[in-house]
């Protein structure tokens, strides 16, 4: 269980998360929904201590990751795959090198094994022929797929995806959804996705968190969420 207790986060004078608490089940697919600018990304980054909250605790399997020293935190991140909203591929490296970065520097695997793994991951996301391209040569959708492949190359037990289908065409979004569906089906990975994509949520979510106005409005199994709550969530005030 990932336990979030009383997390608050502000930037300057602006409070983004206000004493947020939730319990997120392991080995399930959790969706975080909420309007733009209401703290989904901040919540996602805070969950893995990429952003330090002003107060609160975050426990993964009982360990408070906010108490971790730097070395322990970097060790914890070896088990985390994170797909950023804007993909965040390292622009001075080719797609292939982006995928092999973690494996080359943080594992003892041989070069040949790493190259094979990279080829397999590229094939998984349908980018077999794009390995030697630089990120600037890829479309938005391809970048997202490459970022998903990079996160998966680590085979992490925790996978976080920030708006994986936003801003890309139907075809690319469909490919990513299929991939997420496959990952969810594996059953051993905890996947947490921040998105606006209600259709994807309905298809894939085991657990849902609704965030609005700095607070969590709902946290529970996807089967228990009412349609009226979702409509309220995106109603502009």
């Amino acid at each position: 269980m990932i336990v979030v207790e009383n997390i608050s986060k502000s930037f300057g004078q602006t409070l983004v998360l206000d004493r947020v608490s939730a319990e997120i089940p392991l080995c399930k697919t959790t969706f975080i929904l909420g309007p733009s600018g209401h703290g989904k990304t901040v919540f996602l980054k805070t969950l893995i201590a990429l952003l330090k909250p002003d107060q609160g605790r975050i426990r993964f399997n009982g360990s408070d990751i906010l108490e971790f020293r730097e070395k322990a935190l970097y060790r914890f991140w070896t088990g985390v795959g994170f797909v950023f909203q804007e993909s965040a591929l390292i622009d001075s490296l080719t797609v292939k090198d982006n995928l092999s970065l973690f494996l080359s520097y943080q594992t003892e695997q041989a070069g040949g094994t790493i190259q094979q793994k990279v080829r397999d991951m590229l094939a998984t996301v349908g980018l077999e022929n794009m390995g030697n391209k630089f990120p600037e040569e890829l479309s938005g959708g391809m970048k997202k797929r490459a970022a998903v492949a990079r996160a998966l190359a680590k085979d992490p037990p925790f996978l976080f995806l920030d708006e994986p289908t936003t801003g890309i065409d139907e075809g690319n979004a469909g490919a990513i959804k299929k991939l997420i569906a496959r990952l969810s089906g594996e059953g051993h990975r905890t996947t947490i996705i921040a998105t606006h994509d209600l259709r994807m949520m309905r298809e894939l979510a085991d657990f849902v968190l609704l965030i609005k106005n700095r607070k969590i409005l709902f946290a529970g199994p996807a089967s228990q969420i009412e349609e009226s709550r979702l409509q309220d969530l995106y109603r502009t005030e």
């Binding site: 990429l50 390292i90 700095r214």
Partner: protein, 264 residues
């Protein structure tokens, strides 16, 4: 309640200059500690250092040699213009060699590269910061100081002294050509006597190796520091770039003075 459409970039209190200065100084110190903590990571990321070294060879060395030629020629012509008959010529050659080339050249190179290398490091790291590439490195358990910071700093600390040594040789050759053949104001024996006068190897080591290595460290360290704390989009990256160039240039001026003071 109204929606909280936050923007970390624009939501800051008006800056208090004195507080900002001390806060920056404190952060700079923290960054230095971070670099020290990551010294063991240097060998691991050697491929990155090697890439940076190649970049320096193609970008810094030609510029250094070009500047050196003109420093040599300029120093010679100016010395010749002020050639006073009651000062012996070997002494003038010695002054040109020690002050114009060995002492002044690394300083000029440092200032030029503070603008070129320092601002480019700040812009590169800054744009990586605002596009979340640095966060992406962290999620891959790669420490940005180890992967991005040290390779740039090490490459500078190796290449600045090498550039200085090659450039000083180049400046000396251009000085010799102008002095002995161009304006021919000094004889070969006077020229050699001037170079040998009051010669101390430690002076060359300080000026051609230690000083440029320190300048190299400062330029890339300051560039990395300002780049990694840049915010507010492309404007922030531009600001980081300017701040890096100004701060490293000022530090180089002060350090040059201190080295001069200490080596006396």
């Amino acid at each position: 309640m109204r929606g909280t459409h936050f923007s970390p970039a624009v939501d800051e209190a008006p800056p208090n200059r004195l507080r900002t200065f001390f806060a920056t100084f404190y952060e700079l110190f923290q960054q230095l500690l971070d670099f020290i903590k990551n010294i063991p990571e240097i060998p691991k990321y050697w491929p990155e250092t090697s890439k940076q070294l190649h970049k320096h060879i193609s970008e810094t060395l030609p510029l250094g040699l070009f500047i050196a030629c003109f420093v040599g020629i300029g120093a010679t012509l100016q010395a010749n213009a002020h050639n006073l008959i009651w000062i012996n010529r070997p002494f003038i050659v010695n002054l040109m060699f020690k002050f114009g080339i060995i002492d002044l050249y690394p300083f000029i190179l440092g200032l030029v590269l503070a603008g070129k290398i320092g601002s480019s490091v700040a812009a590169e790291i800054g744009s990586m910061q605002i596009t979340e590439q640095i966060d992406a490195l962290k999620t891959m358990s790669i420490h940005p100081v180890g992967y991005l910071g040290w390779p740039r700093v090490i490459a500078s600390m190796i290449m600045f002294p090498l550039t200085t040594i090659f450039s000083d040789i180049c400046a000396l050759i251009s000085m010799a050509l102008i002095s002995l053949h161009g304006s021919a104001w000094v004889s070969y024996s006077e020229f050699v006597a001037g170079l040998k006068m009051d010669f101390h190897p430690w002076f060359l080591i300080i000026q051609m190796v230690i000083k440029p290595a320190l300048f190299g460290f400062i330029i890339c360290f300051v560039g990395y520091f300002f780049g990694s704390r840049s915010r507010k989009g492309s404007k922030g990256v531009g600001q980081a770039s300017i701040q890096s160039a100004v701060v490293s240039a000022l530090t180089i001026i002060i350090l040059n003075y201190l080295i001069g003071e200490l080596s006396n």
